[in-house]
Structures are given as C-alpha cells and as structure tokens.
Amino acid sequence: MVKQRELNGQNDLLLDVQGLKTWFYTRDGVVKAVDGVSLQLRRGEILGLVGESGSGKSVTGFSIMGLVGERGKVHADRMMFDGYDLTQASAEQMRSLRGNRLAMIFQDPMMTLNPTLRIDTQMIEAVQAHEKVSRRAARDRSLEVLRMVGIPAPEARLKAYPHHLSGGMRQRIAIAIALLNSPKLIIADEPTTALDVTIQGQILYEVQKLCREMGTALIWITHDLALVYGLADRMAVMYAGHIVESTSTAALIERPMHPYTHGLMASIPSLGTRGQPLFQIPGSTPSLLNLPAGCAFRSRCYRADAQCAHAPSLQAVGEDHLVSCWHSGEQT
C-alpha cells in the first residue's frame, strides 16, 4: 500500500484507512463491492469521493461507519479514526462513536428522521444518547445547530413532524442532527442528489461555511464530479471497488491522469459540447460478481493493451497525485 503522505506523526491524520475490502456473500457468488481502498483525511479536510453506480463509493462510507449489513464482511489492514481502531471496535464502541464523533448524512433524509416523532424529540434523543445533559441543555443545543444550518424560525421547526417539512428542509435538519455532537468527521452519501438545484446550492453553501467554521472533516460521496469540485480539497475517483485516481481537486481538474477520470469529465454535457456527439465511454459498469483478472476498466478503456491483464496498483505520478493505471497521463 502506498502511504499517501508521510507525516511527522500520525496525529495529523483524522482518518487512516488502508486496504479496505467489503465483500458480500450472495447466493450467486462473492460481490467485491470494495476491493482494496485506502483513504487518508486530515482534520478539517474535505474529500470528494466520486464514482458511478456500482463503484463502491457508498459501501465505502457504510464500511467506515460500521453500517454494512450481515451479508457483507468488512476487512481492512488498517482503519484508524481519531485514535480509535475501527477494525477492533466492538458494537458498543461503534455505537458510541456514531452520531458523536463520526456522523453520516444519507441521500434520503427520511433515513435519519423518524416520521412518527417530532423533530425536537429526535434531536434531544440524539444529544442525550452521547452526553449526560438535561433536556433543557439538549434543546438549547438543538436550537443552536438549527440556526447554524440556516433554518429560520427554529423554535417552530422543533415542534414540527418530518412530514410537515419540505425535502430541502428535512435534509437540512438531517445535517443539523449530524452536527449536534460536534463530530470530527461527517460522511455525506449523496445528500443533495434528490433535491432541487436551487436548494442544492443552499445546502452546499451551508456545508462549506460549517466545515470552515467548525473544522469538521467531510467525505462527500457523489456521482456528480462537477458538483463537488467547488467544495472539496481533495478528490478520489472510484471504479469497480477500487480508487483509480486520487489527488487535490485542482490537479484532478487540470490534469486527469486515469482514462476513466478523463472519460468521465469529457462525457459531461455543456454548452461547449454542443453540436457534436458526446465523448462516451463504451460499455457499462461490469458486474461485480465475476470481475475478470487485471484492470477492471480494461474492457472500456481506449488505452488498454496486453499489459492491462495485470491489475495495476496506486502509484504516485506527481506530488500528491496517485493513479492506478499502466498508461496514466497518456492522451489517445
């Protein structure tokens, strides 16, 4: 495994994941949803984890949180968060970390919100689950975070039920709940995908502000490269359970090295692509049941050759730029 950055001590790294593998044992075979992923995150850093469906990006997030169901087996060479070893953590320890130092925001806010409980009940419960405080104090904390995410008239919102609120409002409350206990890391799994464009803009604005103010680290999982580039410090692109490219946002946009990243960016329709057919990556994501040996992207790659029958691994191609490809940087 290539250690992305050699640092003075490990204290600077908030999250250190090496060799994460999450395999699902189904009736039809083993599905290697995540097959050797390494991530490192400093405090206060924002990482954009980009991939299409089947890339394993969401499963990576769930694996770190310990939310993978029974059918999946999570194994990592190393998974350290804020000094805790997540691979050795018991269910009790994970429960005390989740919602406390490690929070998650889901695509559908109704995964966070209980439709039968009022907002204040849920938020107070979330606070009191991790800290012995009075109801009054928990309620005050709830009001404070609601204001932080830019919700007007928060007292009224506290008394409401989730079905009284719009989708955008619910997602903001879900974000507020994630912030209640001042987490060190938030993992956001496509939180704005189901929201309208103007609401999406509001939420991105709030999240950017909050991460700067509170120094929270963030992993933003998305399929939309363009959406997250303005927010993230670093980006990692996933394909078929592997990270294929990982670097700072600026470097990724200016100099994509991996053919998949390059193809992805070239496929995005815009005013500039008018009048010609869009660049298309041929074929579709392979079934993760029986991935052929060698590079997973081989069958769709315009740079593929005989060498690609051996699976490449992440190599450093520049300062702080990792790519998993034998032909990185080549143009057609």
């Binding site: 039809d28 599905v31 995908t193 359970g241």
Partner: protein, 312 residues
C-alpha cells in the same frame, strides 16, 4: 428530482453494487421457497392430501356411501380390526353406520378441498375484478364499490353464511356460493390496494400513452403485478374456507349427508367422542387439522418470499 431516491434499509442494500441477475424469476422463486424446511414439508403434505382426495374413488378401501357394501355388524369397530371375512382391514376403525373411517376421510377430504378450491378461485376472480376496476377508475366508482366491500366485511362471515344457507338450503353448490359471497371482499380490498400502487407506476402511464384500452391495461399490465399479495390471501383464505365449511357442516347446515365433508364427519362422530369410540371423530379432526395447518404454513412462507421488499 434527479435520481431515484432510495429509502429505508434498502438504501444500504441498494448501495450494494449493481449485479445483473441472470437466473429466471421462477428459479429464484423456487430457490427461495425451498429455503424453509417447514414450508417444503407442508407443501408435500398438502400435495399428498390433494392427490389422495382426487384419487379417493380408486385408492380407498371401501366406498362408504355405497350402502350395499356396508355390513352393520361391523359398526364401531376399533382401529386395526378386520371385517367379517378378513378381506378388509379397517385401519382407522368404523363409525356408527359401519363405514370405514379411513375411506370416509378420503371422500370427506375430497368434498372439503373441492369446496375450498372452487370457492376461493371464484372469490379471487370476482374480488380481483372489483378491486382492479375500483382502483383504476377511482372517484365515484371506487367509492361505491368500496362501500359494498365494507358492508360485506362488516358482517361476521359465519353469520352471513348461515343466513344464506338457511335461505338456499343444503347442497355442495350452495355451500360454495355462500363461501364465495363471504370471501370475495377480502380479495377486492387487497386487489385494490395493490392496483393503486401499480396504477401510479410509469409502465401503466406508458401503456396509456400508447393508447391501449383500459381493459387491456388492467388485465395484461396491472393484474399480473397484483398477483403476489392476492396469492398469499388465496392460500390463507383456502384454509379459512375449509375451516368455515367444516363449521357449517358441524352445525348441520352445510353439505348433505350423501356428500359429507370432514366437518360433517366430525359432527357425526362428536356424540361418540367421550364414550370410548373416539376414533370416529378424532381421525377426521386430525385430517382436518393437518390440511389446514399445512395450507397455513405454505401461505405464511409464500407471504414472506413474495413480499415486494424482498424482491430484487
């Protein structure tokens, strides 16, 4: 809205990678069904019961309703005894009229299962038609039909059946009619609920966009997708119908003496239950219980695997 929003615990499952399913639906269904041993055993038992009932005239040792073949001296013989000349073994004994209990059970099961299957099938078709039409057209049609269903469901089924049979008289066909009247409403309600969900799906909109007629859409597009919940109700209702018919026969208003069902056999044997000749009532009761329980177990397991949330 840009993407299909995934809700609930399925979202974590759905985040599991895109795996193209190659096996056919039928094979997966069978694989899921055999995962429960209890359900497989119940299905086997049920199929044996049905086979036995269908083949009753050929496999039963004696035709208990052919009066010529009965010898009154053989009445109330205990299980295992032989008849006068040793040609016939009464495995389960004989009843008060010297009928072989085993044969009577086979013939009785025939009637019980016949009544059950026919009434459930007819109630299924009638109820499904009503429910689908109510869901598809909505508005006043829906309100009117559902009020009929509500009225039907507000009366206890045994009461309605009793009243109907009092008016219609005895007979297997009359019992079937009474059971249909009592059961159709459950199917109507389930069919309507399923159809309302399907009606809003885009493939139904696509069908109407292609200018297909309403009956074609209902019958070939909506109905096949409503079958799973209806199948579950049908299986459980079958058990219910058989039990209900047994109750009616026990009370003496169901099937005639010439075509007894398991319930009637139980009724006939009831008076003997505590007087030492328990087998006349006991064995038909066991048979009834086995049939009803196996149908229930099959229906239970079907409900679990046909649950749309489990569908990939």
């Amino acid at each position: 809205m840009s993407r299909v929003v995934q809700t609930g615990p399925e979202a974590i499952a759905a985040a599991e990678p895109a795996v193209r399913i190659e096996t056919s639906r039928w094979r997966r269904f069978v694989a899921q069904y055999v995962s429960s041993k209890a359900a497989v055993i119940s299905l086997v038992v049920l199929l044996l019961a049905i086979a036995a009932a269908v083949l009753a005239p050929w496999i039963s040792p004696q035709n208990p309703y052919d009066l010529a073949s009965l010898d009154i001296l053989d009445a109330k013989l205990p299980p295992g005894s032989k008849n006068f000349d040793g040609s016939l073994t009464y495995w389960l004994g004989t009843d008060g009229q010297a009928r072989d209990v085993l044969s009577a059970i086979l013939y009785g099961m025939r009637t019980s299962l016949l009544v059950g299957f026919v009434s459930v099938t007819a109630a299924f078709l009638i109820g499904a038609a009503v429910g689908l039409i109510a869901a598809y057209f909505g508005g006043r049609m829906d309100a009117f039909l559902m009020r009929l269903v509500d009225m039907q469901l507000s009366f206890p089924s045994i009461l309605v059946a009793l009243v109907l049979l009092a008016a219609l008289g005895k007979g297997v066909d009359k019992v079937i009619i009474a059971l249909i009247v009592v059961q159709w409403a459950y199917f109507a309600r389930a069919a309507r609920a399923a159809a309302i969900v399907e009606r809003n799906k885009e493939y139904v909109e696509a069908a109407s966009c292609m200018a297909l007629s309403w009956h074609r859409i209902l019958w070939r597009h909506v109905f096949p997708n409503c079958i799973p919940p209806l199948m579950v109700i049908a299986t459980i209702d079958l058990a219910h119908a058989i039990a209900l018919e047994a109750t009616l026969s026990f009370l003496g208003v169901g099937v005639p003496v010439t075509e007894p069902s398991l319930g009637m056999l139980i009724s006939n044997g009831f008076e003997f239950l505590l007087s030492g000749t328990y087998w006349i009532c006991f064995f038909p009761g066991i048979a009834l219980a086995i049939v009803v329980v196996s149908i229930n177990l099959v229906g239970d397991h079907l409900r679990d695997i046909l649950n749309p949330r489990n569908e990939v």
